[in-house]
């Protein structure tokens, strides 16, 4: 069942509200701008598709157009942050942090100034744009940087909260957003704290006679997380107890929650719209290999580039669908029993 403490939208299965996580950015950054006049937004010629145009409309004097120049985008932001502003610099994730990673490393992370890289159109579901525009490596690139907070919101509402929280943090950060409309799982009441994973689903063990050996913990991140909740429902029907944990912050990783929930379950699945190397799967594996070695099955993009296509086709082709998560859970449980 949905974890009541997470205060998720009760209609998320049957009649979900649909919105993209980038829309959450658009709302959140206007709110952050109202709360703190140090907030500025930079755009590299993609203001509408990054949703930066909402801020532009509200605060034209604090909106900076840099043109098609992602290296300049990051370094101008670094200079502004060094001065004392809180710049959110926006582009597609394949270009920023894709093209300007070294600038981010030196002038933001090592410099330790609070510039926020906002990578839009991350993941597979960028619609028809194709592999050049599908960022599937960005979490790995950014998670490797010291000083860098890395957040991958699961929906529009969480994206909004992440922007507001980061504006208050005073730290370098990467926020990952997606283009596609997906179910909005969280509500205004859902807790959000940087670095704190949230349990979205926890099977009622009473249904299993108080305990069962058929247990799995599913760690998920990003806007396709709704699929893990559908998988949890399916698994419960097959008498498998499930915990779904939304790991919105990949760095710093909530190792306490990951170790606790993985150990309680004894079998682990990770799920992400990202290469398996270096993303959430990699992060959870690093954490558990050290603290609680357990069988892990990773569901994500398996060392391939993306391609043009609609959401349904891509989710199926790249094996990110509900049956893939269900199969991974069963495999992890069977490995745990050996």
């Amino acid at each position: 069942m949905l974890n009541p403490d997470a205060k998720l939208d009760a209609n998320l299965f049957e009649k979900p509200t649909m919105a993209s996580s980038r829309e959450g950015f658009g709302k959140g950054v206007v709110e952050a701008g109202k709360a703190d006049e140090r907030v500025v937004v930079l755009s590299a010629d993609l203001s509408e598709s990054t949703q930066a145009h909402h801020f532009q409309k509200e605060f034209p004097e604090r909106f900076v157009q840099v043109g098609v120049a992602e290296q300049n985008l990051a370094t101008v932001a670094a200079g502004m942050a060094n001065y004392g502003k809180i710049p959110f610099f926006t582009s597609y994730a394949t270009f920023s942090p894709g093209r300007n990673w070294e600038q981010i490393r030196t002038t933001i992370a090592l410099n330790n100034v609070p510039a926020v890289c906002c990578g839009m159109h991350a993941g597979l579901l960028t619609g028809p744009d194709g592999a050049t525009h599908q960022a599937l490596e960005d979490l790995a690139m950014m998670r490797a940087l010291p000083n860098m907070i890395v957040i991958s919101p699961c929906d529009s509402e969480e994206g909004r909260k992440a922007v507001i929280a980061i504006a208050k943090s005073g730290k370098p950060a990467y926020l990952r957003f997606a283009r596609e409309k997906t179910p909005v799982l969280t509500t205004a009441e859902t807790p959000f704290e940087i670095g704190k994973a949230v349990v979205f689903w926890r099977s009622d063990l009473q249904k299993f006679g108080g305990q069962t050996s058929n247990k799995v913990a599913i760690f998920t991140t990003g806007p396709l997380s709704y699929l893990t909740l559908h998988a949890a429902r399916e698994l419960e029907k097959e008498s498998i107890a499930v915990t779904v944990i939304n790991v919105h912050t990949l760095s710093p990783l909530d190792t306490d929650t990951i170790v606790r929930e993985a150990s309680n379950a004894g079998a682990v699945v990770t799920f992400e719209e990202h290469q398996l190397s270096g993303g959430l799967g990699g992060a959870v594996a690093e954490c558990l290999a050290k603290n609680a070695p357990l069988p892990i099955e990773m569901v994500g993009v398996q060392n391939r580039f993306g391609q043009s296509g609609g959401a349904k086709d891509l989710i199926k082709e790249y094996k990110l669908d509900v049956p893939d998560i269900v199969a991974a859970a069963k495999k992890a449980i069977s490995r745990a029993k050996k």
Partner: protein, 291 residues
């Protein structure tokens, strides 16, 4: 207008800075020699006359900012800062050593007054432009100086920043380019021709002033003149001599990245390099004093 006596004082400061550069590089057994020696006059002018700053209060909010884009010439900055009173000159001898605040390439978090982290080339103009843009938003009056190398104009990021500063008419930004014509692998016009640099900057809507980067009076007059340019950023295109002050190494690109004791030995044997370099600088000092 500064008197000849004051100009001479600044030239002597530059000589102090050059001597410290040689001592610290020899001690570190690593680092760049040509660029720092070539920029000593400009750094002396900035730290001892042009910039508003307070060595005892490096975070003073209204200070002028100096962003060094080509971080590898940081020995000249460290030496100038030390002589200006930011920290003891002896600390210069910790350059590039474990535990030192004087990292091989400068780090903002390590040493107050450094302003920004640099080393990877081509990112300074953009950072300085972002800084100047933000300061102007808040109505701040301080100046932002960005020091660049000619070689790093091979980087696309440099030109992106130049275009940005031109578009937004950042008149509070002054770039001083160390036009010394050398880079690691050879002379700039052989590696990747940069000329016509002045025309390129003018085409990007910058005001351009070319100077002799070793004429203290020209440096000072130009920095003063720049304050009257209110509608665009300014490039001071400073023609400098790499290795300035040590005639045996002047204009020799092989001295771009070597410290005394590890450079080419065709003119001076390795074990004599530090001694000879300091001797040459002492001779220069004598000439300044007697001028």
């Amino acid at each position: 207008m500064l008197s000849e006596v004051e100009i001479k004082k600044l030239a002597l400061k530059a000589n102090d800075v050059r001597q410290t550069i040689i001592q610290m590089l020899a001690e570190a057994k690593s680092g760049h020699t040509a660029g720092p020696l070539g920029m000593a006059d400009i750094f002396a002018a900035l730290y001892f006359h042009v910039m508003k700053h307070d060595p005892k209060n490096p975070d003073w909010a209204d200070r002028d900012r100096l962003m060094l884009s080509n971080g590898h010439i940081t020995p000249v900055r460290y030496a100038a800062m030390a002589h200006a009173g930011y920290f003891p000159v002896e600390e210069c001898m910790t350059l590039r050593k474990f535990g030192s605040r004087l990292q091989g390439h400068p780090e903002r978090d390590m040493l107050p007054g450094v302003e920004t982290t640099s080393g990877p080339l081509g990112s300074g103009v953009s950072q300085a432009a972002g800084y100047a843009y933000a300061a102007r938003l808040d109505g701040k009056r301080f100046r932002v100086f960005c020091l660049t190398s000619d070689g790093e104009h091979g980087e696309g990021n440099t030109w992106e920043g130049v275009m940005f500063a031109g578009k937004y008419r950042l008149s509070n930004l002054t770039q001083i380019m160390d036009r010394n014509n050398i880079q690691i692998d050879g002379n700039t016009e052989d590696i990747m021709p940069l000329e016509p640099l002045a025309d390129k900057y003018k085409a990007f809507n910058w005001h351009v002033i070319e100077i002799d980067g070793h004429s203290m009076r020209e440096i000072l007059d130009t920095c003063h003149e720049v304050e009257s340019i209110q509608d665009r950023p300014t490039l001071i295109l400073a023609h400098t001599t790499p290795g300035k002050g040590v005639e045996e190494i002047e204009n020799d690109y092989r001295w771009h990245g070597n410290p005394p004791g590890k450079g080419p030995t065709d003119k001076i044997p390795a074990d004599k390099q530090k001694e000879v370099f300091l001797q040459r600088l002492a001779e220069v000092r004598e000439r300044i004093e007697n001028s």
